[in-house]
């Protein structure tokens, strides 16, 4: 007999993980209550023994007259209080005429202990592991596939060659073992370089004598991967360096070799980005780049749908966009020495710390010595044509300090903290960094924290996902400066470094989880659309961010 409430719940996460029999158990003690708009469901500080599922209407969670959260249809509230037996941290009130399914906490607890996935859901909510919670619901679980270590997929007896042997010897070895590459090693099996099929083709084309020693022509230093590293690490190296072969090392010695083909054969459908990086390297003109850029977007959507985590996606996207920019610089001839010594092109802000958002909008700082304006303008035009939005801060060589000073009062004074070298003159970049480091003071950090808090409306539930993530990354920036760390880093890394030093460990861990979850949802909103489950994660995460805001306020601004 199908009872409508069980039928209904069985379609909604996390209840969809329960068997029919388990749902019956849950419903055994369930009540369905109607609350008129304005009716209080429970008051703050009360103990409750039921979890509430909103079947219809809207419930407001209120603390000290502030509406801290709105719970919509198909969402749960009262989870923490009822499952932990703690007093509630808010008053729950119906904002509209509402109907709630009220589930007995001990029934839910019972199911948590007997149903793995259902249990995982609540354990992650209670321990505030939002990022892993988000992962739990990615159907494809691609990260499991990629979590395997490299050594399990690598060829165990790598073909190696001593550095004094000739190219001819290398070709013989490749033919004998039917492989596409040989690793050049020293006496201790330490990797020195690599020679691949495509190198051989190039040697023939360039009339290089096959009697030359391999050490003269090998690609060196060689990119290698640790045997304990995950397939994801290998994958990211393949994509970001546009290479096909990676020696696998253990304590510095070559113990195997993994090729992009090995990886593709294992995880076929998810590796569409692999050929893309090579396409960028090979491409001949801007039109081709335009096409590749739109393919990249599709691949990223695939990555999101396959359950890749945010850090991997951002690493891949950053390296691909870097490659495209370098390629355009090559087309425009601005990478030539006589031109490049006169400027430096530096990504700043989110792209500077390798955390791009969508649509890809790059903020740059360009320092020029000479008047390169017409040439640079052509470069910008090409970049925009490919589909990348650009915002350029242009500054003349002698004026870095005064330029930075003029930024103190602008809204994004700390954006320059995150920067990295991309194109142009290295010495100019160093000068820019020195100027940035001396201009970023503790006062500026405090000023920025104050501003951040005034923007984060502590009681509003209307904060967008984007404003939440930028609050976290800006907070982490300011706190890092206060700690004396002025290195450009991705936000999760910053939070890790601040954890236990400035930010209490628990809060830092929650914040990192919340940030990564929100970043992924931010991508989803822009590219594929989010679902009900994401809303839950956003709400729970914004709770952590509110907590962070209060913590900053009491510790730094009072």
């Amino acid at each position: 007999m199908s009872f409508p409430p069980s039928h209904y719940l069985s379609k909604i996460k996390p209840f969809s993980f329960l068997s029919g029999k388990e749902i019956e158990l849950l419903l055994d003690d369930m009540e369905v209550s109607f609350y008129k708009a304005g009716k209080t469901i429970f008051k703050k500080g009360k103990k409750i023994n039921r979890l509430y599922f909103v079947r219809e209407g809207k419930i407001g969670l209120i603390s000290d007259k502030d509406l801290i959260e709105v719970v919509f249809e198909d969402e749960l509230f009262g989870i923490e209080a009822s499952l932990n037996g703690l007093p509630t941290e808010y008053t729950a009130k119906a904002l509209e005429d509402s109907v709630c399914f009220e589930l007995k906490a001990d029934r839910v607890k019972n199911l948590i202990s007997r149903n793995e996935r259902f249990g995982e859901f609540f354990r992650k909510i209670l321990s505030r592991k939002f990022y892993s919670l988000l992962k739990l619901y990615d159907e494809n679980r691609v990260d499991d596939l990629y979590a395997d270590s490299v050594i399990n997929l690598a060829r165990k007896s790598p073909v190696v060659i001593a550095s004094h042997k000739s190219i001819r010897d290398a070709v013989r070895l490749m033919n004998l073992h039917k492989v596409g590459s040989v690793v050049v090693v020293d006496d201790g099996m330490r990797p020195l370089g690599i020679i691949t099929h495509s190198d051989i083709v190039r040697f023939v084309n360039e009339n290089i004598s096959f009697d030359l020693a391999v050490k003269e022509v090998m690609s060196s230093p060689v990119e290698a991967v640790d045997s304990e590293a995950s397939l994801m690490d290998a994958y990211l190296k393949f994509v970001s360096k546009a290479i096909n072969h990676l020696p696998v090392v253990e304590d510095g010695r070559v113990v195997g070799l993994i090729s992009s083909k090995d990886l593709i054969s294992k995880i076929e459908s998810h590796s569409s980005l692999l050929p893309l990086s090579k396409k960028v390297m090979r491409c001949k003109d801007i039109e081709e780049l335009e096409g590749i850029f739109s393919e990249i977007k599709i691949s990223i959507i695939n990555m999101i749908e396959s359950g890749f985590d945010y850090s991997s996606i951002s690493t891949v996207v950053t390296s691909l966009v870097d490659m495209i920019l370098k390629k355009i610089a090559e087309f425009r001839g601005i990478e030539r020495k006589e031109i490049s010594k006169n400027f430096v092109f530096t990504p700043i802000a989110d792209f500077g710390r390798r955390e791009p958002s969508f649509p890809i909008k790059l903020r740059f700082f360009v320092l020029v010595k000479d008047d390169l304006q017409p040439l640079l303008n052509e470069f910008y035009e090409d970049v925009r044509r490919v589909g990348i939005e650009l915002e350029v801060n242009l500054c003349y060589g002698g004026e870095v300090d005064s330029f930075l000073r003029s930024c103190v009062n602008t809204s994004n004074a700390l954006d320059f903290l995150d920067s990295r070298y991309l194109l142009g003159d290295g010495a100019l970049y160093v000068r820019f960094r020195e100027a940035v480091n001396s201009y970023l003071s503790n006062d500026l950090a405090i000023l920025s924290l104050r501003k951040l808090l005034s923007e984060l409306e502590l009681s509003e539930y209307g904060n967008s996902v984007e404003s939440l993530t930028s609050f976290v990354s800006d907070c982490a920036k300011s706190l890092s400066i206060l700690l004396g760390d002025k290195t450009s880093r991705p936000t999760p890394e910053r939070i890790k470094l601040l954890s236990g030093v400035i930010i209490p460990k628990n809060l830092a861990e929650d914040l990192r989880e919340a940030y990564l979850a929100l970043k992924k949802i931010e991508l989803k909103i822009k590219l594929t659309g989010k679902d009900k489950f994401d809303d839950l994660v956003v709400k729970k995460s914004s709770g952590v961010i509110r907590e962070m805001g209060q913590w900053v306020e009491t510790n730094f601004l009072k």
Partner: protein, 217 residues
């Protein structure tokens, strides 16, 4: 919802609210499947009961049973979908009658065309168990709905059907037309009707008067 309205809701003091006796009344929502429409000839095939206290539906305490009739009428299968093979292992009315009575006793019976169900129960208790069954307090959600509409100034001369009332309250359940689902939907409708009755300061005596119905066709 606009900002102002929202803050008004938050500020609303519920502490001083007068509690209506309707909020404490014990109800029992009932729905039957029968072999036909004539209580004199036809028999009960299924009984669903869902207890309520005020606006709380005790969903977990629902009761449902199929009943084996003495004479199965094949024509009715198209209405309820219950086949002879479904009811052949089911208990006879005599076996469940006592439990049903206990569940209903002392409660206000709520249903759609409640009087029809009561007639069937009356007959069954009388003929099969030699028991007198005549509940004093019951209400029909179609009658309550007609009353609520009249209060708004809309005169109702025809009988409101189940689907129309469901729509009025924005209830869309996909599973319908078995006794338990229909009883549940009836409970969901009644829940909201109570809330409106309270707005009109109606008491339990009013409800029984309003919800009473003299004919069941």
């Amino acid at each position: 919802m606009g900002g102002n309205e929202l803050s008004e809701v938050i500020e609303l003091e519920t502490e001083s609210e007068m509690e209506s006796d309707l909020e404490k009344t014990e109800f029992c929502v009932i729905d039957l499947e029968t072999t036909g429409l004539n209580p004199k000839k036809d028999e009960i095939l299924a009984i669903a009961l869902i207890p309520m206290t005020g606006m709380r539906i005790h969903a977990g305490k629902h009761y449902y049973t199929l009943i084996k009739p003495k004479k199965f009428r094949y024509k009715s299968i198209e209405f309820h979908g219950i086949c002879p093979s479904d009811v052949s292992p089911a208990p006879a009315f005599e076996e469940v009658g006592k439990e049903v009575l206990e569940l209903i006793e002392g409660k206000v019976l709520i249903g759609f065309a409640t009087l029809f169900d009561i007639e069937f129960l009356k007959r069954s208790f009388k003929e099969k168990m030699k028991k007198k069954f005549s509940p004093e307090r019951y209400a029909d959600i179609a009658e309550i709905e007609a009353w609520l509409l009249r209060k708004k100034g809309i005169a109702i001369t025809y009988r409101l059907d189940f689907d129309t009332i469901m729509k009025t309250y924005g209830i869309s359940e996909t599973t319908r037309h078995d006794a338990l689902s229909d009883a549940y939907i009836t409970a969901r409708i009644f829940q909201k009707q109570i809330s409106r009755l309270i707005d009109y300061n109606a008491t339990i005596f009013d409800l029984v008067r309003i919800g009473r119905r003299l004919f069941y066709f």
